[in-house]
């Protein structure tokens, strides 16, 4: 029974951290769906959003604002920053590069990553800033069933809740609103959408803005977990296998992929790790993604847009 309890604890912990990967992966999917750009800068955007939020919060609280006002204003400020970033990227990088091949666009987003990281750290500072928006203590569940119970982190539950709301919100936005429909039209076929009068550059701005706001949400959760710091940008790389497993074009896929990666790597670390030296978490997700690529290249939920050879 102890073994099973431990397994459940590892599984739940893994699933919860998987939700956090999903939050980053969502931003990727939004942009890839609408513009075919593989956005390496998503991690940097999370960093920028987090830094903007935490620095604004610190400043407002230090000037005597009550906490809830500070939180609202801080989130508003970070959202404005993300909007400005989205506009700048669309106007100066992605717009001029329209119709270039995917590799060029991908490399340009790496350039964008450098710029965002530099600007964010220059303006907001480059230390580790703690962020306390959510409770970080733990619950112990089923104490009657298993000795010691199962440890569940409250923050992870919050993260899962937020991810759920976010996905529901995005689904509603894509299905029910006029802009959402236009987004899907652009995703299907740029030229056709353009010729029926959908303003492409506006749509792309909206997409980058949406990705920026998703990054802001991810920043609140990750910032509470790790503190807002430079290493957050490496999350972008963790989101790639999540995308491959879930499918590059599927929003539910991002969530399911995140869950699989999170649970898989935690279980592998705990049960396989000791026998081969530990640190499996580092590459497990990628090898899993490689396996999925070989069997089902479009991912679990993706559309079959991939060209088979």
């Amino acid at each position: 029974m102890i073994a099973f309890g431990q397994f459940l604890e590892v599984l739940i912990g893994g699933l919860m951290s998987g939700v956090l990967y999903s939050l980053v992966a969502l931003g990727f999917v939004l942009i890839f769906k609408a513009s075919g750009v593989f956005n390496y800068a998503q991690g940097a955007m999370v960093l920028l959003a987090g830094l903007a939020l935490v620095r604004a919060l610190d400043l407002l609280v230090a000037n005597g604002f009550p906490l809830w006002v500070a939180v609202v204003l801080g989130i508003g400020f970070a959202a404005v920053i993300m909007a400005a970033t989205a506009w700048l990227i669309e106007r100066f990088v992605v717009g001029p590069l329209v119709n270039q091949d995917a590799l060029t666009l991908f490399m340009s987003t790496i350039g964008v990553t450098f710029v965002i990281e530099g600007v964010a750290e220059m303006i907001f500072g480059s230390d580790v800033y703690p962020l306390q928006l959510f409770p970080t203590d733990a619950w112990f569940l089923f104490e009657g069933l298993f000795p010691g119970g199962i440890l569940v982190n409250k923050l992870d539950v919050w993260g899962a809740l937020i991810a759920g709301i976010l996905v529901a919100g995005l689904a509603l936005f894509f299905q029910r609103t006029k802009t959402g429909r236009a987004l899907r039209a652009v995703a299907d076929d740029h030229l056709a959408a353009h010729s029926v009068g959908i303003p492409i550059s506006w749509i792309w701005f909206v997409v980058w803005l949406a990705a920026g706001l998703v990054a802001l949400v991810a920043a609140t959760v990750w910032g509470t977990k790790l503190g807002v710091q430079f290493s957050i940008t490496f999350l972008a790389l963790k989101a790639l296998p999540v995308l491959i497993i879930g499918g590059l074009t599927s929003i539910p896929g991002a969530i399911v992929g995140g869950l699989i990666v999170g649970a898989g790597e935690k279980i592998a670390e705990v049960y396989l790790g000791p026998s081969i030296g530990g640190g499996i978490e580092y590459w497990f997700a990628y090898v899993l993604a490689l396996a999925v690529l070989l069997v089902r290249p479009q991912g679990l939920f993706g559309e079959r847009i991939i060209e088979r050879i």
Partner: protein
């Protein structure tokens, strides 16, 4: 006036398929090689400007040569065969660590079977080349997914190689000969009884490797194999229809590219770093190589050199410039500014000339042939 091939008649087939058909190109290359092989070492030995200190040789020319070699390898895969790879850093690492293991002696105990495989320490040259071959083998292995997937999906597959080998060299103590710090030291560089020690000797050693491998690469891409790669890159289905086997073409591209990258990795570790840890071959190195190839020009050996020079020198310039201009900036601000300017520069170059510096050069040559007339 200067760059015009009027009057250079090709009278034999050998002249027609020459590697540099235009005389001016041959002269330019000979001058360049002369400077690189004779001029630079002479200047450096007698410490004449700009080689007053070892800085230029040690901090710029040596890494430039090795990274240009790695960029050539990356360019063969990405530029000539069209297979995006984010795992170049891992292949450099494989070259470096295999060469290290071979140079210090390999011992694989099969405790369960009751015997062990032991290879005595090999000479440095042999271990560098064998390191390249090991890297080629790994390249073939991780190239297999390319038979089913392509584009950015393949990039993620190669990323798997990157992270797996990062981890392996960090966590499996066998690779580092159980060094407690995880950092390993290169063996003494002995080539046919000659010991390579000073920066000039190291520079010449790398120059020989780079010249030979660049010639090999240039000739490969002009020949049958290179044309197969390019056909696969341009349109894989059409290439298959005219009788090119994708399996053979793609895997040879992976093998040749990984071999060159592996040799570059071994040189980077042995000749440039001297002692290193897995961090020297992280994902950043892969991205850096990809940048060199794209900025320099996809599908151009010359472009690899220019790209390597640009990516290497731009950050150094950005670092030195504020101090030279006397701007009162803190080191931290300079680092951030360096990030910003470098990132913007890359975006700017990608927007202005998506085909890289190699394209600019070929446009320049075209203009030069017509000069002083505009048409």
């Amino acid at each position: 006036m200067l760059y015009r091939e009027t009057g250079q008649f090709k009278t034999t087939y050998a002249e027609d398929i020459a590697i540099f058909p235009i005389r001016q190109d041959r002269i330019a290359l000979a001058v360049l090689l002369g400077i690189a092989f004779i001029g630079v070492p002479l200047l450096a030995t007698f410490r004449i400007w700009p080689f007053g200190s070892d800085y230029l040789l040690w901090a710029i020319l040596l890494p430039f040569l090795i990274l240009a070699l790695a960029a050539i390898g990356t360019n063969i895969l990405v530029g000539y065969c069209g297979q995006i790879s984010l795992g170049s850093g891992a292949f450099m690492a494989i070259g470096a660590y295999s060469a290290y293991k071979l140079a210090t002696g390999v011992h694989i105990p099969f405790a369960a079977l009751g015997f062990a495989i032991s290879i005595p320490p090999l000479p440095v040259l042999a271990s560098i080349l064998l390191g390249g071959l090991m890297s080629a083998a790994a390249g073939i292995l991780f190239g297999i997914p390319s038979l089913r997937i392509k584009g950015l999906y393949l990039a993620v597959a190669t990323l798997a190689a990157q992270f797996f080998f990062d981890w392996a060299f960090l966590r499996l103590p066998w690779f580092t000969n159980y060094a407690p710090s995880g950092s390993v030291n290169a063996p003494e560089l002995v080539f046919f009884g000659l010991v390579v020690r000073t920066p000039v000797e190291r520079y010449l050693l790398c120059l020989v490797f780079v010249t030979l491998l660049a010639m090999l690469a240039k000739n490969l891409v002009r020949g049958n194999l290179g044309r197969q790669w390019m056909a696969i890159r341009d349109m894989d289905i059409a290439a298959e229809l005219i009788g090119i086997r994708p399996l053979y073409a793609k895997l040879t591209a992976f093998a040749v590219s990984s071999f060159i990258i592996g040799v570059a990795g071994a040189l980077w570790a042995f000749v440039y770093l001297g002692s290193w840890e897995p961090l020297a071959f992280s994902i950043d190195r892969s991205l850096e190589l990809l940048f060199m190839v794209i900025i320099g020009g996809l599908g151009s050996i010359m472009g690899s050199f220019i790209g390597a020079a640009f990516i290497l020198i731009a950050p150094i310039m950005l670092n030195v410039l504020p101090t030279e201009l006397g701007l009162p900036l803190s080191t931290q601000t300079i680092t951030h500014l360096q990030f910003i300017i470098f990132g913007s520069l890359i975006c700017y170059l990608l927007i202005k000339e998506p085909h890289g510096f190699a394209r600019l050069i070929s446009i320049g040559k075209e203009k030069l042939r017509l000069w002083p007339f505009p048409y």
